[in-house]
């Protein structure tokens, strides 16, 4: 498998502009700015089939195409480096090891929509990553890739690194924009979409780090080569972050369509300590869990994960072995969502806390008959009734844990304790 996203991360000093340039860096940007019109660039990215890697999988070229060409307002591009989905740590690797690929990709996206101001919104906790990116931006300015009249081609672009301050919801694009406008990270009702009404009401494109880092390769090698990798609806390669009960945790780049079981068993070394696999969350904590017996034939792409009843999401693969208490895992995730709800809409604000409270009492052996139905009902009432998709992200995994591991939850309530793990 050819490495696209991880092509640089193991090179010495990969974070420096010298190393990046010696490996072909910024050639794509030069080609774009000197030889391609924004329209042709957008067509090329559409043809590549690239879909957003932030979780929703929206086609990138199509998203850019929604930005009005003749708007008198300024336009903005924001690189979403808020990476906070539990189980996901792929963007952090790129930020720390290959910041220039992100910067180059961000400038390419800005050029596509004729934006002259771009932002990288990085989650506040990633201080080291912010330092690496900050230095890389200075290098790019000094080299003339950022600033006025880059490559002498008459295009100006400014890039501002902006640090968040600890709030998962600022990863949601409209929450991010509210945060960048200087307020709480409160999501906004869509439509209108950021493409027409984004930052300060101006046309804005928000793209994930991995999405943007894919662009230089696609521009240089051509959309056709990218589209040749993967499946019908999932093109190219994707990063997966693997954690939990697995022998070789880490970030893996995989051709879309790769067999999931083989990936876990061979590439990641399988479950350690002679234990058996019990369940796996394939797309970050917001996505429904799969039981071990549901993995046969599943491949790593948008279509196959969806057919299996879950979603590819951010590609955060969380592996749980047979000693894992699923009630405890469900409670852990519900606590995360209860903590992170921005509190703006009542189904989400109240519902997340409710689900957390009930999962907690079931976990402690204080559950009552009807508690599981109550969670399923709360979850059902959140779904589709909130301002932003956070509500669904909290509701889906809660319901999936109960449905997939029902006997274990029932046993917790009946026997007033955990029957799986000692702890």
């Amino acid at each position: 498998m050819e490495k696209i996203l991880l092509r640089n991360v193991d090179a010495p000093d990969s974070h420096t502009i010298g190393a990046y340039r010696s490996r072909g860096g910024y050639r794509a940007l030069e080609k774009v700015v000197r030889e391609m019109s924004p329209e042709r660039l957008i067509d090329e990215i559409k043809a590549s089939g690239l879909r957003g890697r932030g979780g929703a999988g929206f086609p990138t070229g199509m998203k850019w195409g929604f930005v009005p060409k003749d708007s008198p307002k300024p336009k903005y591009v924001v690189c979403n480096a808020d990476e906070s989905e539990p189980g996901t740590f792929k963007d952090r690797l790129l930020i720390e090891k290959d910041p220039h690929s992100i910067i180059e990709g961000t400038i390419i996206a800005a050029y596509a929509i004729r934006s002259h101001t771009a932002f990288i919104y990085i989650r506040g906790e990633l201080s080291f990553g912010a330092k690496v990116l900050g230095r890389a931006i200075e290098e790019a300015v000094a080299a003339g890739y950022l600033g006025k009249n880059i490559f002498g081609a008459g295009y100006d672009i400014d890039l501002i690194l902006h640090r968040g301050a600890g709030a998962y919801i600022c990863g949601e694009e409209t929450g991010l924009l509210s945060s960048l406008e200087g307020g709480k990270g409160w999501p906004k009702v869509k439509p209108p979409f950021p493409a027409t009404h984004g930052l300060f009401g101006c046309p804005t494109v928000v793209n994930n780090v991995e999405t943007l880092a894919s662009l230089p390769w696609i521009v240089e090698r051509g959309a056709a080569r990218y589209a040749a990798i993967g499946t019908e609806k999932s093109k190219g390669t994707k990063l997966f972050s693997v954690s939990g009960h697995i022998r070789k945790p880490g970030v893996y780049e995989v051709d879309m369509g790769y067999p999931f079981k083989k990936f876990l068993e061979e590439d990641c070394g399988g479950v350690p300590n002679g234990k058996k696999l019990k369940g796996v969350i394939p797309g970050g904590a917001s996505m429904p869990v799969l039981r071990a017996d549901e993995l046969d034939g599943v491949t790593m792409d948008y279509e196959s994960f969806q057919a299996a009843g879950t979603l590819l999401g951010s590609g955060g693969v969380i592996v749980m072995d047979e000693s894992t208490c699923m009630v405890r895992s469900a409670w852990n995730i519900s606590r995360f969502f209860a903590h992170e709800s921005c509190g703006q809409c009542s189904p989400c604000r109240e519902g997340c806390h409710w689900m957390e409270k009930i999962f907690r009492r079931v976990e402690r052996g204080e559950g009552k008959a009807g508690d599981l139905e109550l969670i399923l009902s709360v979850s059902g009432n959140i779904m589709g009734n909130t301002i932003c998709p956070f509500g669904d992200a909290a509701a889906m995994p809660a319901a999936a844990f109960i449905k997939k591991f029902r006997p274990e939850f029932d046993a917790h309530i009946a026997q007033k304790k955990c029957t799986v793990s000692a702890s």
Binding site: F89, L180, K184, P249, F336, H339
Partner: protein
């Protein structure tokens, strides 16, 4: 209202605000600047930031209370934050927290009497492949064990 930026910080403030297309957008970086200068964001600091940012005090309060990294109260020199989310929990985060509590003699949310450590639990810090992990001030400590976490804390004076 005695709080004010030092002249150097004021220069940084001007530079930051000048970077953004609109002044309000500089709110988080300015709050970081204030937190660094004043140690934490108490009522006086919040009023000061509201004044220099030309926004109502209530707006700054809203922002400060919304984000976990902005502190309204003083905290210890080493803010020790253990990740508790699922991947870290699967790797034994609870045992790490228990070991730290025992070593420092404090509970979650507390600060040691000498002001050296404040202990908190936090949600996923994008370091799940090297779990369990914690963040102390700006630094990540990964692949923790009950043994090495004590040694790490000993080195933080």
């Amino acid at each position: 209202m005695a709080l004010e930026f030092s002249p150097e910080t004021h220069k940084k403030f001007d530079a930051i605000v000048g970077r953004y297309p609109k002044k309000e957008a500089a709110m988080l970086p300015v709050l970081y600047l204030a937190q660094e200068e004043f140690g934490y964001l108490g009522p006086e600091a919040i009023e000061y930031v509201a004044a220099i940012m030309d926004v109502p005090v209530a707006r700054v309060y809203g922002v400060v209370t919304f984000y976990t990294m902005l502190n309204m109260k003083p905290i210890g020199r080493h803010h020790t934050q253990v990740c508790r989310t699922l991947p870290c929990a699967l790797a034994g985060a609870e045992r790490i927290t228990a070991a730290i509590k025992a070593k420092l003699g404090i509970e979650l949310g507390e600060t040691t009497a000498d002001g050296r450590f404040t202990l908190s639990e936090v949600e996923c810090l994008a370091s799940c492949g090297t779990a369990p992990m914690m963040q102390v001030n700006d630094d990540y400590y990964e692949n923790l064990s009950e043994q090495n976490v004590g040694e790490i804390l000993d080195r933080l004076k």
